[in-house]
């Protein structure tokens, strides 16, 4: 891993000091308006499901951003990030229960702050152990930590409530804004508020000397030592602060679902964070945000439509790591030189030309997976197969033919178009360089 360490994580370009305000405002506006786009005018109420999905997205955005503080910015692959999230969640349930019983005079709006502080505390404890090492040893220590904490959470009752978890009621009757937070939409706006606070906090943290030194230790820890900083201290502080933000996410989780079980500390959730950060693009600040939105849609949305959603996730991984290791935002940023040279318009036709076979391949792939899955599993379960609203008969060779034809034919066409696209792209990069 020694010489591969340099290749391991692409360096992140430093964030320009002139902060552009308008993306933040647009994001805030979209977040505020979003639930109203799905308002059920017939029944005069919000879509509970969509608000749940958006609330989940908000929490995951905070979670993924805090995870990227470790992976993208400090080069630390942590498998135990969910431990910080979940333990803060458990603490918040206890805080809420105490607040509801009148023992804790903290208003609801500040509960996530308490959660963040508890996340910070746990991160200090675990981080002290984990950050003693770096790189693979660090990752393995975190693997050990997550396994330990997960099983402990199912066994011990007083704090974790055993396998059943701990429950609370979020209507604690104490609020700075005078709201009850019984309705899901109120909790959603609380999440949006704290999401902005956390995101702004993490964004500015990346520009502080600590944030910069984390980048330096990621890229070349020996050199950082020579400069005079103790990489261990840097790692430790970065871990502790990422725990603070993860804790905020955990607190919001507890408030939203009013129940926390051991799967809030378990490894699959930590793996989710890795997924979100990587697919969105670990090299930029906003990458994890994009990744969190996409993965939440996949898990909550697609999983309701298909039981093979894990296959799609797996293929998405593989496609991303093979073709787009810098993530979605990485792809977008690669267009920057072309855009600067004003040549972006020349890409519209090539994009259209790959979009068409691309969609056909996607359609064919989904068709094949769903047909196979239905044949082997779904049929016996008595379901009916309907793809994009069209009922399919698995016994007619037509469905199979169409699906395979789309997959194979579309794939062939796509590879031709991809070659053409690459030619155009290379040409444009050359042209932009000369301008």
């Amino acid at each position: 891993m020694s010489d591969a360490a340099v290749r391991a994580l692409p360096s992140r370009r430093p964030v320009s000091v002139a902060v552009r305000l308008w993306p933040w405002i647009v994001a805030l506006l979209i977040a505020v308006v979003l639930p109203w786009l799905f308002y059920d005018w017939q029944h005069g109420r919000h879509s509970g499901f969509m608000i749940s999905v958006f609330s989940q997205m908000g929490m995951m955005i905070i979670f993924a951003l805090s995870f990227n503080m470790l992976m993208g910015q400090a080069g630390l692959l942590s498998f135990c990030h969910s431990v910080l999230f979940g333990l803060a969640g458990y603490s918040t349930v206890h805080f809420l229960n105490a607040a509801g019983a009148g023992e804790l005079p903290v208003p609801m709006e500040l509960i996530p702050l308490l959660a963040g502080l508890s996340g910070f505390g746990f991160a200090v404890v675990f981080g002290y152990m984990a950050t003693k090492q770096r790189s693979t040893a660090f990752a393995m220590i975190t693997l050990g930590i997550v396994q330990l904490v997960t099983t402990a959470a199912t066994m011990f009752h007083s704090f974790f409530g055993g396998e059943g978890g701990v429950k609370t009621d979020r209507v604690i009757g104490n609020s700075l804004l005078g709201r009850e937070y019984g309705q899901a939409i109120e909790v959603y706006y609380l999440i949006v508020g704290w999401m902005m606070i956390a995101a702004i906090g993490m964004y500015f943290h990346a520009m502080t000397p600590l944030g910069r030194m984390a980048n330096a230790c990621r890229d070349n820890h020996e050199r950082a030592q020579f400069v005079g900083y103790d990489p261990r201290m840097v790692r430790f502080l970065q871990f502790a602060l990422s725990g603070f933000y993860a804790g905020i996410g955990g607190g919001l989780f507890a408030i939203t679902y009013e129940i926390v079980t051991f799967d809030a500390v378990a490894a699959p959730l930590a793996a989710n964070a890795l997924l979100m950060a990587y697919i969105g693009g670990a090299t930029t600040f906003f990458g994890p945000v994009l990744g969190a939105i996409l993965i939440t849609l996949l898990q909550s949305g697609v999983s309701l439509m298909s039981n093979s959603w894990l296959v799609y996730v797996g293929v998405l991984f593989i496609a991303m790591v093979t073709f787009a290791p810098t993530g979605l935002t990485g792809i977008v940023l690669e267009h920057a030189p072309i855009a600067r040279a004003g040549l972006l318009r020349r890409l519209t036709l090539p994009y259209l030309r790959i979009a068409v076979p691309g969609l056909i391949v996607l359609f064919g792939f989904v068709g094949v997976v769903e047909l196979l899955s239905f044949l082997t599993i779904g049929m016996a379960q008595g379901k009916r197969l309907a793809l994009f609203g069209v009922a399919l008969d698995i016994f007619s060779p037509l469905s199979w033919l169409v699906a395979f034809a789309c997959l194979l034919g579309g794939g062939l066409w796509l590879s031709i178009e991809a070659r053409y696209f690459k030619r155009v792209w290379d040409g444009l990069i050359e042209a932009s360089r000369s301008r």
């Binding site: 499901f49 749940s52 079980t261």
Partner: protein, 416 residues
Amino acid sequence: MQRLRLLAISFLALFGLAIAGQPVRAADETIKIGYIDPFSGAFASGGDASLKMFQFILDYINAKGGALGKKFELVTFDDKLQPAEALIAFKSVTDQNLPFVMSCVGSNVGSALIDAVNKHNSRNPDNRILQINCGQLATELTNEQCSFWHFRFVGSVEMRAVARIKSLPQSVKSVYLLNQDYLFGQSIEKDTKRFLAQYRPDIKIVADEFIPLMQVKDFAPYISKIKASGAQSLLTGNYGPDLNLLIKAGVDAGLDIRYDTYLAHVIGAATAIGSNGEGRLTSVMEDHENIPEEEHNAEAEEFFKKWRATHDFAFIALPSVTQFEMLVRAINKAGSTDAVKVADALEGMEQKDLFGVTNIMRKEDHQLLHPYYEAVFTKNVKNDVEKTGLGWKTEYKTTVADETLPTTCKMKRPSS
């Protein structure tokens, strides 16, 4: 200019999404039930098996006409056995105005749903929903956590424990308790000890052990301990790999002991245990496929014959048949699927199950009271399990009176 165009396009896209996102009005031709269970991941086999059994039951019920002239339909949601996911799925159920939500796997999910249903029904009195529990066994759900909106159509852990203890032969004088270290396993251990003290004080508990859930691969050391203890019977609530590996290890080591289990009849266990279990493996179950022959019940015989023709695992969901028979009667009596009316009709209802035994849906805690059958895994039975050549033979059965246990439920009833 660029930026404006970008903004315009994104708003159009969002608008399009919004139109697509309008909830579909539930079609009125069928009575839909939102069914939340794990259908992907490590626990998919549980949801998969349940779904198949329910499809079969619904075909049977719908063939008899359904309720109010409408057929039943299941709308499935995957919760991956996580309470948070189940709650998101529940939101989708209520968005679609489905009158019933049903869930079978995972008492932690069941518990979370009870809370969610209570909160939803109190916050949305115009869109109330009833919760059907088809397999979440933790005793607390109809005791401390009981709710007017929650109906459990399968016996609780303590009901099962009564059957387990009462069916132990008089010759057994020492038992070794082994359970999984989580809510369900601890519940089993508590109730086992309670009823041992109550019904069989002559039995000595030589050891009371917990194992971490689904972690142990090698049970040989446990077998050594069990052998050293000299117990006559291994009393365990384990299921899944924790049960299969335990019995395999025991048989391999030549351990001469009875395996008195709670859940060895659940799907997959027979295949994994095979002939290892012959003669020594017992379990308490809601039904097995040889009871019709034992009781000379032709209609039940027909039912199981039809099932076996198209499925290669055992049908163990008899109370779910009773569940739908009761639902049909309740909906017909209520004249609609309104939650309060159906609940009023359901509670206190008596219904004969497929074997002719009268089950009762108790009013105080909404728990279905039904009998259990304790059976031994053996050869020379008419219907074998999962093509292993061995099947279940009843040794003992409990009555509904045996299973009527006191409850701590203090149910809050809605005022309207």
